[in-house]
């Protein structure tokens, strides 16, 4: 994986250049319409910002009253996607950051939109991220604002499904699904997706992040990797991680 990383990176550049040139052209045409829409949206967002600021200060005051222990802030590394999984049966991507950048197994991979997967293999300069749509992906999740618990299980389709939801649970289309934070792999409250529909008895979740269009992603270290057993061969090497400075604290 390490040896191929530079080649993959080099090859992915002209393609993404072509990609961006094409999208620039169509973006230009759509710019006028987009502008009108954005102005409207901006006005709406300003309202939301006011509401959020109010809530933030109220939240801070209430936390102060309760003496709530603060959650640990994570540190992150931003990485570029350099290879897709070419297989029909695996949903994973390779990124150009590895042990040298402070990436560890079990770290959460997120974009600005939400969770996309977790780091499963780490090389010195590259790492593999198992996407939440993969057949082998299981993420403990909850519906935002409720105590409902479920496991988000990938099945190689675009929409992973919710398993083991409690009986009689009132899942509705449009419910926001976030990580539960149990198992010590992901922190609680990372946005994952929304319930998009039902397939038999199982609810299907549409991930917030567009998994097939990810260019850059963040690998976040929350200091959790409790539930992941070490790979059977070769314990992780700790000697080379001197550049902790690359990961910067997230300001919330």
């Amino acid at each position: 994986m390490d040896a191929a990383a530079p080649i993959l990176e080099m090859l992915s550049r002209p393609l993404s250049l072509l990609d961006s040139a094409l999208s620039k052209g169509s973006d230009f045409l759509a710019a006028y319409r987009e502008n009108a829409r954005l102005e409207k949206e901006n006005a709406r967002l300003l309202d939301w910002q006011q509401a959020a600021l109010g809530l933030a200060s109220e939240n801070a005051q209430l936390r102060e009253l309760l003496k709530l222990a603060p959650e640990p802030a994570g540190s992150y590394v931003t990485a570029r996607v350099i290879a897709n999984s070419g297989g029909t049966y695996v949903r994973s991507i390779v990124v150009n950051a590895g042990r040298e950048n402070g990436v560890k197994r079990g770290q959460a991979a997120i974009t600005g939109d939400g969770l996309i997967g977790r780091v499963t293999e780490v090389g010195d300069r590259a790492a593999r991220v198992l996407l939440i749509t993969d057949l082998n992906s299981r993420v403990p999740v909850t519906v935002e604002g409720s105590r409902l618990r479920a496991v988000l299980a990938g099945d190689n389709s675009e929409h992973p499904s919710l398993h083991y939801a409690e009986e009689g649970s009132a899942l509705r289309i449009g419910d926001r699904i976030v990580t539960l934070g149990q198992g010590g792999v992901f922190p609680p409250g990372l946005p994952v997706g929304i319930v998009a529909g039902f397939y038999g008895e199982l609810a299907r979740v549409e991930p917030y992040a567009e998994l097939s269009r990810v260019d850059y992603l963040r690998l976040v270290d929350y200091g959790l990797s409790g539930a992941l057993p070490n790979p059977p061969s070769g314990a992780p090497r700790n000697g080379k991680r001197s550049d902790q400075a690359l990961g910067q604290p997230i300001h919330r």
């Binding site: 993959l8 996607v81 897709n84 070419g86 029909t88 049966y89 695996v90 949903r91």
Partner: protein, 159 residues
């Protein structure tokens, strides 16, 4: 130098199949480029392919894509073996005949992959993406074969 061309194109095909292309759902149905190249060269220049190289390239592709290690290597080697044992049926035949052979091969390969993964996952995996992948691979073969043939003529037969 030109004797390295088959191996070089198969390596290129491997890199092509793991490129991140931003088309929704493309990753799941990426055509089996290496299979196309291996089939083409096994018919037209079998002497320049070695089973060892096919094994190495196939294994490398599996490791890079995170697929089941060894599966692609096995498919490439089987392709090589099947074409070589039936070689006299392929030589000097019109292209549609060769394309038909490839179609049979791809259908067999996709069925094999699907049953293997279903067995491992202990459930019947959705086979639609396998079918799409087979269709894309089969319909992509004439283009790949044309390009490979042109490269072959330009570099090997001239030199």
């Amino acid at each position: 130098m030109t004797s390295l061309l088959p191996v070089a194109t198969i390596i290129f095909a491997m890199l092509l199949s793991i490129e991140p292309v931003h088309i929704p759902g493309y990753a799941a149905v990426t055509p089996a480029f290496t299979l196309m190249a291996a089939y083409h060269w096994a018919i037209y220049r079998p002497a320049l392919l070695s089973p060892l190289m096919l094994f190495v390239i196939g294994t490398l592709q599996d490791l890079l894509t995170g697929a089941l290690a060894g599966v692609t290597a096995l498919l490439l080697l089987l392709t090589y073996a099947i074409v070589l044992t039936h070689r006299r049926r392929f030589v000097n035949r019109p292209f549609p005949f060769i394309w038909g052979g490839f179609t049979l091969l791809v259908c067999g390969a996709m069925l094999f992959l699907w049953s293997l993964h279903s067995l491992l996952a202990a459930e019947l995996i959705d086979f639609r993406s396998s079918i799409f992948r087979a269709v894309l691979t089969i319909s992509g073969f004439p283009i790949a074969s044309f390009l490979l043939g042109r490269t072959q003529r330009a570099l090997m037969d001239a030199g």
